[in-house]
């Protein structure tokens, strides 16, 4: 066959596209797991949290989180009086080794575990210039570390401070809701090790999930509702001082 210029112009793009598909060999999700049948979230029960730090340690082990960065962390609040917008908050090493014993300082004291809120209207997804961070069809906000440029715009856009740049991969990273566990019937690492059940994974699309009953019978909040992020991590018993 003569390689004329016209033929080449047709063949080349076709070959390029075909070659790409040849090269792409993608791992498969478990065959029984249908993306559209789940809508993952988490429920945090603040009165139950004892600030032991097990969740922070477990997350770091499960997800290979570098030192000094946190996919989840715990904050201890001390609210002295009526000024709810001025609590004293500390988070020594993210609460990873628990919290040092303290004198009873009066006022109101409690722990608040925090993580990525897997927002339905996620501002971090909105600002990513290339589509390296995204909301999956089953409601989890993930980062594609093979596509991320490391421009840090998403870290700036997250109102909750849950994102960071991994110094090893130089890409954005955050809580993935242990995506590699939850679609195999396991729970997240943090929920697995929580001794008091303060953290519970929930699937809003599962009619049998206890979260539906819980949301009906308890007063719950999300963090920073005025940001209208569609945050999906629900906090039971959260005080107005929580920032």
């Amino acid at each position: 066959m003569d390689i004329t210029r016209r033929r080449l112009l047709v063949l080349l793009p076709a070959a390029a596209v075909a070659w790409k598909y040849v090269l792409a060999g993608t791992p498969e999700l478990s065959p029984n797991y249908k993306l559209t049948e789940h809508w993952w979230t988490m429920l945090i029960d603040i009165p139950k949290c004892i600030g032991c730090g097990s969740c922070v340690r477990a997350c770091a082990e499960e997800n290979d989180v570098p030192d000094g960065f946190y996919r989840t962390w715990i904050e201890r609040y001390h609210v002295a009086d009526w000024r709810l917008e001025r609590p004293e908050v500390e988070s020594p090493n993210g609460g990873k080794q628990g919290f040092p014993p303290n004198q009873d300082a009066g006022g109101k004291n409690f722990f608040v575990p925090k993580l990525c809120n897997h927002c339905a209207d996620s501002p971090c997804t909105q600002v990513c210039p290339v589509g390296a961070t995204f909301v999956t069809p089953d409601g989890v906000v993930l980062v594609d570390k093979n596509y991320c440029l490391g421009c840090r715009y998403c870290v700036q856009a997250c109102p909750y401070g849950c994102r960071f740049i991994n110094p090893r991969t130089k890409t954005a990273e955050k809580c993935s809701l242990c995506y590699h566990r939850i679609n195999k019937g396991l729970t997240t690492a943090c929920c697995e090790v929580c001794p008091t059940g303060a953290r519970q994974l929930a699937d809003l699309k599962n009619p049998k999930d206890p979260i539906h009953e819980f949301l009906r019978t308890h007063s719950v909040q999300v963090l920073k509702p005025h940001m209208a992020t569609g945050a999906k991590v629900f906090y039971n018993g959260m005080d107005g001082s929580v920032r």
């Binding site: 596209v17 993608t26 001390h78 729970t187």
Partner: protein, 157 residues
Amino acid sequence: MIALFAFVILRAAVVPASFGQYGHYRGAAIAETAARPIAFAGHDACEACHTDVVEQKKQGRHVVIACEACHGPLAKHADDPSSVTPPKLDTAILCARCHEANSAKPKGFPQVVTADHSGGIACDTCHQPHRPKIQTSTNETKTETKAEVEKKTEGKK
């Protein structure tokens, strides 16, 4: 014109195949993320073999605590028990993380000032971690289900 054409060719060649599959991202990233190795086996995996510990835990409050909360990630051990031996834990540090008294912990939660309570000796000198309540002659052997313990401790501040 040529530049535009060249750009289209370049784009078709370089943009990953699965891009746009579910939205503006590489669809393959979902499966890639799901393919991470697992570190924590989950308590169901432990309970399959260690039934004696399960029975012991059922008699105390620690029935609600997952094995790996204290013993650390042991998926490798669950996959091949003989290849990985879980390390012995130092109870002096481990137990204090939950049970050291702190003003921010819920009031109903069992907490002590370890310096006063034990003078710093290892907790498992007196307490058996899988069944922490110290056994006296008046204790009955009682089994509680996880749900019952949760109900007892719910809402305690």
